[in-house]
């Protein structure tokens, strides 16, 4: 059980780093060539990249930070924190699903750092469900 939460903490840290990188990128708007492996400007400069002038990546960084804090608190015995963590990561996963749809269908381009973020979010959600399953087994 604890191992899962420790993994969740680490994954959330990766998510924070990724989202912070994307946020900084959004503001500095450094020109990056398009590459075979993705990571194209197109996604990051699209109209979907911000809400009310705030880059989505900043919301992402905040969300990952909260997820990180909750997972960490749960390691130290706070059970409610893990439940809130679960609700949060499920919501994040739903939102991420929509973002993948936006990249695939509306923009027609993928961004590697956004896909990394999707992977971390889905991993966090999976970890939560695995922990629920383990709890049921142990009971």
């Amino acid at each position: 059980m604890k191992t899962i939460r420790v993994i969740a903490v680490i994954i959330a840290l990766i998510g924070i780093a990724d989202a912070v990188y994307l946020t900084v990128h959004h503001y500095t708007a450094e020109a990056v060539p398009c590459s075979l492996t993705g990571g194209c400007e197109q996604v990051l400069t699209s109209e979907y990249a911000e809400i009310a002038g705030i880059p989505l990546a900043a919301f992402g960084a905040m969300a990952y930070f909260i997820a990180f804090s909750l997972a960490l608190l749960s390691i130290y015995g706070n059970r409610t924190a893990w439940t809130i963590f679960g609700v949060q990561v499920v919501l994040m996963a739903i939102f991420t699903g929509w973002l993948i749809y936006v990249q695939a269908a509306l923009i027609g381009a993928f961004c590697q750092f956004c896909l990394l973020s999707a992977a971390t979010t889905f991993t966090l959600a999976i970890l939560f469900f695995v922990s629920l399953g383990l709890r049921r087994v142990s009971q």
Binding site: V24, V32, P33, C34, S35, E41, Q42, F65, L73, G108
Partner: protein
């Protein structure tokens, strides 16, 4: 037990605080370093896009023949750009290239190569659309339309209709253009360019070569390109003065154009 819990309950908060501090400081550091190092010639490359200075080998796939070319076919300096019509950084490079073309005119040979990246869903079609326009002698007009209006069609599901509008605007026979887009010759020209790009191990667009030497992306600015072209022009002039040393880069480069083969 109670005391132990109490002492532990502080630990996560401390860790959270440390992580928050690291995130804020790290983010600020990333922000300030990238701000202080804007795109400049001879600046360091963006992390992850380390440009290797590559040279086009003489046995590289030739690409579409004849290439889409501006300037003089016999110019001593060849600028060859591999780009993707849907790639925003290629769109950003387009005005730079236009400026370079107007600055140097017939003193350079400018070649555009299509290198549509697979992650852009419309860029292959766009390259074919430009080639199809080229069959009516209007490659560059379509090229300009596609780059300057990139944002307008990139996210439009009816992009072909949008392009048809450009075709009409630049005075194409739209029906013929549509037929040519569906036909094999336009596609095979795009494929030939793609093959050349792959043969040169290109993995990002835009990739620019000047006299067969790859220009690192941070130097793809008006100033950066101007420096290289001026140096190459000067080189060519010196080599002309010394006829016993004709094997300059320019000579090697022109060998790939069929009209200039030795």
């Amino acid at each position: 037990m109670k005391e132990e819990q109490k002492s532990q309950s502080g630990t996560p908060l401390i860790i959270i605080g440390i992580v928050l501090a690291v995130v804020v400081i790290g983010g600020w550091y990333m922000y300030s370093t990238s701000k202080s190092a804007p795109r400049k010639p001879v600046a360091n490359a963006t992390p992850g896009t380390t440009p290797k200075t590559e040279t086009i080998p003489p046995n590289a796939p030739p690409g579409a023949t004849p290439p889409n070319m501006l300037g003089s076919p016999t110019a001593a300096v060849t600028v060859e750009e591999f780009a993707d019509f849907q790639c925003p950084s290629c769109g950003a490079t387009h005005p730079i290239m236009k400026q370079i073309q107007s600055m140097y005119g017939s003193r350079i040979k400018f070649i555009y190569r299509s290198f549509p990246l697979p992650m852009h869903d419309k860029s292959y079609d766009a390259a074919v659309a430009a080639e199809a326009a080229g069959m009516q002698g209007k490659f560059w007009d379509m090229h300009n339309q596609l780059f300057t209006n990139q944002k307008a069609w990139s996210a439009d599901p009816n992009y072909r209709e949008v392009w048809a509008g450009y075709a009409e605007k630049i005075g194409l026979d739209v029906e013929k253009w549509k037929n040519d887009m569906a036909g094999l010759p336009a596609k095979s020209r795009v494929d030939a360019d793609l093959q050349r790009g792959r043969g040169l191990n290109i993995n990002t667009t835009p990739t620019v070569f000047i006299n067969d030497k790859q220009v690192p992306y941070p130097e793809v600015t008006i100033e950066g390109l101007k420096n290289i072209i001026d140096a190459e022009l000067q080189n060519a002039q010196q080599n002309q003065a010394k006829p016993e040393a004709p094997a300059s880069n320019a000579a090697a480069n022109s060998a790939k154009a069929p009209a200039n083969s030795k």
